[in-house]
Symmetry: C2
Subunit: 247 residues, 2 copies
DNA sequence: TTGTTGATTTCGCAA
DNA sequence: TTGCGAAGTCAACAA
């Protein structure tokens, strides 16, 4: 890896046209020939860059980086303040935990958090328009009265009376799992539900949008379509796993 | 900006958990305290990082970078191979051209490219579910016969006969502008059309999806919904602007 | 190769 | 500040 600190101007012509007026910046040249132009602020995104595979041609005071698609990054060097090269070697790579796949796996093992008696039919339930994250069966049509003492029935721990605790038939539920649910997630789940409900062996299939956070517009759209929204707490779900206890 | 090349291991605990085994990497510390960990390959995205605002605490052989949300990046240094600091100053920033806003502005000035006699009603036409990129009126209901000589009418330059060249009422058209149109753009435009067509003062409103490139699946879905697809050429649109000539 | 989806997305704009 | 959509999105994975 080569590190150059220089006063420079930069021009990119490719998918768009972009220009940087002269200033002091860090130019990072990686082993694969890719180039990053960083300022002393902002986020991890460079001001300008060229991704590999690409080719760097270095003339007197001008670097030209070009890729196969003909996109071109031209760096004009006014003054070089630092120039050093370092041998880094290959990187063992990053090990991650806690992404959406994990969230789905955790929820799959604890579909009971979505409702009493819910069971998992399968993860990645296949359809021609894509896999449904989780296909579940709910606990069946319970009729819950507001207060006990209105008649026969089973008194639950939370004080509600369950009149029909043993349902005739439990219903299918398609669950869409997201870290952050947007309107797109509602559209996607809607397409799944449209498809699934054309199958008389499955219909009626209801929908649940389960996410760590749900955009207000997504929540609104879901409501108009009868889709239930559930906010997940990753730490709680993981806590269930660790402790082996519910709630 | 401080540049450190060092053999190090990295742990991030925050929105997820991530770990990097010991290897030689570049550590970039920006003026705002943000830290980037780069390998000698991959894309412009660092292996690991902490975005500003955050605070770097440097002890003997351990850097701890923490932000307000309690996310933490811990870098353990085994061996420092390079350490230099540079004063870059503020950056004048990037100037871009060719993004969607530009495309929309160009098309707004030349809605005639969508059809003869088309006029712009307004850009960013407001609806409760979001702004429609361009609201237009078309040239009215022309009835075009396949061949001349079938009756009275105006003979057009292209050989077609226009029976009703002066329309009684031109129709509204909602135009969705994208650089690259996907199925999402069709869904979005469909929502707008559903809403707009509930207004008797506007209905019937037709739809146009205008983009520099249109995904095949988006084109197919648009067709089934009666939405017209138009491929835009940025250079041509800009050329119109520069030259002042159509086509 | 192409398409689809997720991302510690980041970034910019507007309410 | 928050929310939402675009991005030279990038990148991983499946068809």
């Amino acid at each position: 890896m080569r590190l150059v600190v220089a006063r420079c101007s930069v021009d990119y012509v490719g998918r768009l046209t972009a220009h940087l007026d002269p200033a002091v910046r860090l130019l990072m040249v990686k082993a694969d020939g890719s180039v990053l132009v960083h300022a002393d602020g902002g986020s991890y995104k460079p001001l300008n860059w060229m991704s590999p595979p690409c080719r760097l041609v270095e003339s007197d005071e001008r670097w030209t980086v070009e890729n196969k698609a003909g996109e071109r990054l031209v760096i004009t060097l006014d003054e070089v303040l630092h120039d050093s090269t370092h041998d880094l070697g290959a990187d063992p790579g990053l090990v991650k935990d806690g992404v959406e796949a994990h969230l789905q796996a955790l929820l799959a093992e604890h579909v009971g958090t979505l409702g009493d008696g819910w069971t998992l039919v399968r993860r990645e339930f296949p359809t021609p328009i894509g896999p449904v994250d989780l296909m579940c069966r709910d606990g069946g049509p319970e009729i819950v009265l507001d207060a006990p003492g209105d008649g026969p029935g089973e008194l639950r721990a939370d004080g509600a009376v369950v009149v029909a605790p043993a349902p005739v038939r439990s219903g299918y539920v398609a669950v869409e799992v997201k870290r952050r649910a947007t309107i797109d997630a509602v559209e996607q789940l809607t397409r799944y539900l449209d498809y699934l409900n054309r199958d008389p062996l499955l219909a009626p299939v209801s929908g649940v949008l389960a996410a760590q956070s749900i955009a207000p517009q997504a929540r609104t759209l879901a409501q108009t379509r009868g889709i239930r929204c559930v906010v997940l707490d990753y730490e709680s779900l993981r806590g269930i796993e660790v402790d082996g206890t519910l709630f």
